[in-house]
Amino acid sequence: MTYLADVAALARKDLLLELRSRDTVPAMLLFVVSTLVVFNFALPADAGTDAAYGLLWIALVFTALLGLTRAFLAEREQRILDALVLTPCDRSAIWLGKGVAVLAFLVLAEAVALPAFDLFFAPVTAEVVAAVLLADVGLAAVGTLLAAMAAASRARELLLPLLFLPLVIPIVVGGVGASIAADPARYLGFLVLYDLVFAILSWASFEYVVTE
């Protein structure tokens, strides 16, 4: 199963890079906590906990965006993607390896964000955690592909939010719904559907984004 070995080697590389430079995850942690604090001042006094959950999801999406902006930084600045693309490994393995690393960063950031949210605003229930984990898969899958697209353009960091936000609207719906609706299972099921559809699409089309 050299495919999985490739994915593992690539994911390991990204995690090792982050461990050495330690710039993305701390930034994401600080960003998400700062955002939650800002929300306290942005919420009117009579806003219910429902509004707070909505803001949690905004914070998560923008934290993901922050992490994704740096996803292909090394590959773009040092043109290493050229060398990776020339190896015999399947190009989708590059997507999967990078996606796994992005997922890990998201989970690390949320390991701090969710307790903070629980402390500041409203309880973090099992449904919320499940929704966050499912949403992470979708955010990482779609985000990694779009980050590669943005890296190949001239606008780079400016382009990623424009591409990312419309595509993750369904994730926000699923996440907020699972957090506040009476029947969270429907929303969790929807998140599973989103993850499946867009992960497969991203996996299959990554090749075309990084080659000519």
Binding site: T2, A5, A9, R20, Q78, I80, D82, L84, T87, E212
Partner: protein
């Protein structure tokens, strides 16, 4: 090995070269010369398959895992060590007994002592030598080298001379440089880009 007909590549409005016809046989040594901006790097990227021609035909009879590509940049991760970089590429290239091969290359290019240092701490010459290791790790049939001497000091350049002399006649080589005197003797074919 390489066959080009009416090859053209443009970037937006700017056309880097046009109507290029070329034949490179196996074990040829093609020397590509020309001033900066004449399209030498673009041509090599086309041969590597990193760029597609905007017009014309290009056939490169080496599969991508048999191509060794040396670009302007070293194409290695600055925050990883020399050994980690080569280990990654060795794994991706599915090299059997890669530790041995990596060790041999590092020694050959005088980087063995620096193998646990991050590339960010390397000098330009050391990074270039590491790039050579990366490009040759999988014993490619077709070696594409874009200004391989740039950044090398005299001892590094001598190592490269020896390497090229060894490769010429054994592998197919395409070398781009704006200073051809060093390797002119080994070349079997020359292409001057305007």
């Amino acid at each position: 090995m390489i066959r080009a007909r009416e090859l053209e590549r443009r970037f937006g409005e700017k056309r880097v070269f046009r109507a290029l016809d070329l034949d490179v046989a196996e074990r040829d040594f093609l020397l590509v010369t020309g001033p900066n901006g004449s399209g030498k790097s673009t041509l090599l990227a086309l041969f590597a398959g990193l760029l597609a021609p905007t017009r014309g035909e290009l056939e490169v009879r080496a599969p991508r895992q048999r191509i060794g590509y040396l670009a302007h940049e070293p194409l290695v991760y600055r925050e990883l060590t020399a050994l980690e970089n080569l280990d990654l590429f060795g794994s991706l290239y599915r090299i059997a007994e890669r530790r041995e091969r990596i060790g041999m290359l590092l020694e050959r290019f005088d980087l063995w002592d620096a193998r646990h240092e991050r590339v960010a701490a390397f000098s330009r010459g050391m990074a270039q030598r590491l790039a050579l290791c990366r490009a040759l790790l999988h014993e490619p049939e077709l070696v594409l080298a874009d200004e391989p001497y740039s950044g090398l000091d005299e001892s590094g350049a001598e190592l490269l001379d020896g390497l090229l002399a060894g490769l010429a006649g054994e592998r197919t080589l395409v070398l781009a440089t704006h200073d051809p005197h060093r390797v002119a003797g080994l070349a079997t074919q020359r292409l001057a880009l305007a």
